[in-house]
Symmetry: C2
């Protein structure tokens, strides 16, 4: 028993005008006289008119909607990035459809297809752990629907990506541990196909090499980087001989889970083992000792990604398709790694 919707026809009839004039007035077209425009706007408000976006989109062949695909929104970084994207979308009058791939390439592909069918004007993506085949983005490229990747990207895709220099960040984090006197440094990371993890690992390796420390594959542990996984890492660390004296995690949650477990086992941090995380999640200032970590700006990254996408849509941006935007990051030194 839904009440009938008011259309421009109703307004036109009410005011004895043509729908064309009404339509124009509603669009705030300068060609309509001030007087009739006011009459129309008032009537529209009074009658409870709301534009029918389907009719509009159908006619205009665009949706004013952006799709967003992210692995999960359960991290501080992702929340911030989404908030950034949203703020820009709001400013520019775009709607957002946000979906989570849950770190599954299958879900990612199905979401991509779904958003494509919904004719999003553009797509923002942060890739799942294990996506290696990017054919689900092909339809977008074929139809010239712009794509922007952020944080979790891939160089083989011909699209703009916005991220930090993960290799350098990994290098910086590892070197910091080395400078604190660590000689046997473990690196904990996730599925290594994803750029962020591959690059951080590379940075770790380069730092070791640069300081004449041996690289040992056994010292690289792989898991899903959850807090629970950190507990498992603690067990592994305890089983290693000789004892590692430093560990660089590819995210804070896992680092924190591990720290709690290690302390329970009687290890002293940073004396027995120095720890560095990644992301600067709020939890880094809760764990004791506070966690040294790499900070990078999720909100800014989100804003930038959205802005870039919208500029591309407006044609106001001369898009160089294969470009890459690197944001600044920062090593935040706290007590978990400082041995004075």
């Amino acid at each position: 028993m839904k009440s009938k919707e008011v259309t421009i026809y109703d307004i036109a009839r009410e005011l004895n005008l043509s729908i064309a004039t009404v339509s124009r007035a509603l669009k705030n077209d300068s060609v309509v006289s001030k007087k009739t425009k006011k009459k129309i706007l008032d009537a529209a408000a009074a009658m409870g008119y709301r534009t029918n976006h389907f009719a509009r989109n159908l006619r205009l062949q665009r949706t004013n909607t952006l799709g967003v695909i992210i692995p999960r929104l359960n991290s501080y970084f992702m929340s911030s990035a989404i908030a950034g994207i949203e703020s820009v979308a709001n400013e520019k009058g775009y709607n957002l459809i946000i979906s989570q791939s849950s770190e599954s390439k299958l879900q990612e592909a199905s979401i991509a297809q779904n958003l494509f069918n919904h004719r999003v004007d553009g797509l923002l993506v942060s890739l799942a752990y294990d996506t290696t085949d990017y054919s689900h983005f092909l339809p977008y490229q074929n139809k010239n629907v712009p794509l922007v990747f952020f944080d979790r990207t891939d160089d083989t895709i011909d699209a703009t990506s916005i991220l930090i220099d993960n290799e350098l960040a990994g290098y910086t984090a590892t070197e910091h541990l080395i400078l604190q006197g660590c000689k046997r440094i473990v690196h904990v990371t996730a599925h290594s196909v994803r750029n962020v993890y591959q690059d951080r690992l590379k940075g770790y390796q380069r730092a070791l090499a640069h300081h004449q420390l041996p690289f040992n594959e056994q010292m690289v542990l792989t898991n899903n980087l959850s807090q629970e996984a950190g507990i498992k890492v603690a067990e592994l660390l305890q089983s290693m001989h000789p004892r590692p004296d430093g560990v660089f995690f590819a995210n804070d949650n896992c680092a924190v889970g591990c720290m709690v477990a290690l302390k329970k086992a009687g290890w002293k941090i940073p004396e027995d083992i120095a720890v560095v995380g990644f992301n600067n999640d709020p939890v880094a200032t809760v764990v004791e000792p506070n966690l040294t970590t790499i900070h990078y700006p999720g909100h800014t990254m989100g804003r930038l990604a959205a802005n870039h996408l919208i500029s591309t849509l407006n044609g106001s941006y001369t898009l160089n398709n294969a470009n890459k935007l690197l944001l600044r990051f920062e090593l935040i030194i706290r007590d978990s790694s400082t041995r004075t």
Copy 2:
């Protein structure tokens, strides 16, 4: 230079059929012969056809889209709730538009209007801190667009709400502190117009009364419940005479921020002061001592809310508009409050 979209006309022309038949085949209408159906489906796939949802929605007068308004998605609880909502929406073939009010009633109202104009089929809402005027939901009620509120609700709105018994949870948390021997218990909460905070406060008061402890307004502190606000709370606690010996926070983040600051100031937890939080955020198991807290199921709540909304849309649910669904919660006792 967007390539042309394939429509049912194109398919019809290609196969020398009418658009009606093509449309029916695409809908998998049983009236179309198996043979032609296959022919059409194959052609559609080969030609890269995708349904135009605008044309479809325009015709069908529904969007298959649900709106979601939440205060912020930066908490573990909200992430879980959204994940729950999303899983149901996916199963049932609904799209989601998620927006954040950023705890501002103005933003909430503007989002509500925007989603209304986008003709969402239904709306899921968790209210901002300070919303007291609910007129922005009136258009939905007038047009019979179903509303479901979850977690942050209000009894004066004539719509289904899904939440926990916050009064009882507040009572349980406070009584736990009392049973641990606390006599001067502080309660830290947020803007008190919101049900979740009002009710937890009521529970706190009832527990005090039930155990013949005096209620003192000075012992109720109000802030935005952020981790940083917890630091301020620590200062306040230190300035109180006599010293409080227990504190019940309306969320974990604030509790954790406060604990860290208190420990820095030399207070022993739980000996000097016992602490209870709310939400069972992962950070509760990171802070030391681990935080006693109230657990309640965000994912389930999200699923339930979405299911309820969709059932209402399908008419498969006999909707009693003014009903309320209470989920179970649980007090999880950890070391921050146990004095043996």
